[in-house]
Symmetry: C2
Subunit: 215 residues, 2 copies
Amino acid sequence: MTIEIQDPIDTKQRILDAAEILFAREGYHGTSLRSITGEAGANLASVNYHFGSKESLIEAVFSRRLEPLNVIRRERLEQVRKEASEKGERPAASDALRAFIEPTLSFRDSGPGAEAFVRLVGRALAESDDTIRKAFMRQMEPLFHLLYDLLAEALPELPRSALFWRLHFTLGALSHTMCMAGRMQILPPGVAPVVETPALTALLLNFLTAGMEAP
Amino acid sequence: MTIEIQDPIDTKQRILDAAEILFAREGYHGTSLRSITGEAGANLASVNYHFGSKESLIEAVFSRRLEPLNVIRRERLEQVRKEASEKGERPAASDALRAFIEPTLSFRDSGPGAEAFVRLVGRALAESDDTIRKAFMRQMEPLFHLLYDLLAEALPELPRSALFWRLHFTLGALSHTMCMAGRMQILPPGVAPVVETPALTALLLNFLTAGMEAP
DNA sequence: AACCGTTTAAAACGGATGTTTTAATTGTCC
DNA sequence: GGACAATTAAAACATCCGTTTTAAACGGTT
């Protein structure tokens, strides 16, 4: 029987924490392994030792948070479908959108670093680097597909190609909102600088539901 | 009286053309001056000679296309306001959105390189590099402000902070649409891979107008 | 033809990058 | 306590970067 003496914090995790914040702030190409290991208080070589490469590192940054988050989002989406089928009704588009978006935006209040991660993910869809964008899409595609199917059930009279594009518009609005979590740029007079996550979620859902249900 | 003999194409312009395409494809940090001058058939030092620095280069890439495009968008926006005031009515939100979005999406059919530029601009709002995002915003902010004011006239009962966020959702959807000009990733069955610009514009305007006018 | 400002060409500069290699250190089990 | 694997540390590696410098070539004017 041995007592597991763990480092103040595990090096691997410290690297993930630092990489998450720096990737979110400076972008993938704008962040060097030296700045990451410097911030993490680790040796330069430790990234390649623990993760193999810079590319594998950002994939690990993605999946560490995305895996549990996607479990939640998947559960919520399937719950919407289940409840609708129990009532023998079609699911509501607003419920489908809420099931996806509420956990997404709420996630930034879920702990230190989560806000940076939300900004990082918001930028991932527009990422110019093919490898990174595809690594992100690989983790998200099944969930996007589930959301697409659920919305198709909610809006059966909407042509599939229109639904497809409306989902893209939705993801664009969502990811842009994620990018700007907390970081406001120019505020017109009479606009409060910060909005609480629940209020922002409600605003976004109102907007997207109306767009999704447009004639 | 001298006859201006111009190079096959001006070096400065060849560099702008190559930079536009490469910045759009690989991102700012992902594109080297060597790849730009290589593609342009110019000497490495010519970028610093003609533009001063890499940063000034991308600003020139932005403003070369943004200046004429913004003239058009401004004219269209002010025309909407003028026509409404002539009729003594409020401008329609759909007209305001169309005045901004139609020239934006149509721009990608306006010549070689324009499609790359549209993708580059679509990514600019989510750019991680502060200098670049701000250089872009400096050129766009007056126009965003004009659009904001026009929408405020169109929707006087909508609280300003709600309008502010709806405009952000709108810009998110628009910039994401610009990013994906032509480049489709995953297509569900039954969805046509390509959509003509006018049809796509109509789809986006339907979506955004409904969202903007939501209760 | 000689001059001169503008542009192009080639090379070098200093520094930063991701990755690899080689040693030292640590902790665990026999 | 010694052997062994896992981890950390330090240094070197090759390469690429944006920028600058120095020369050469060009074009029009006098």
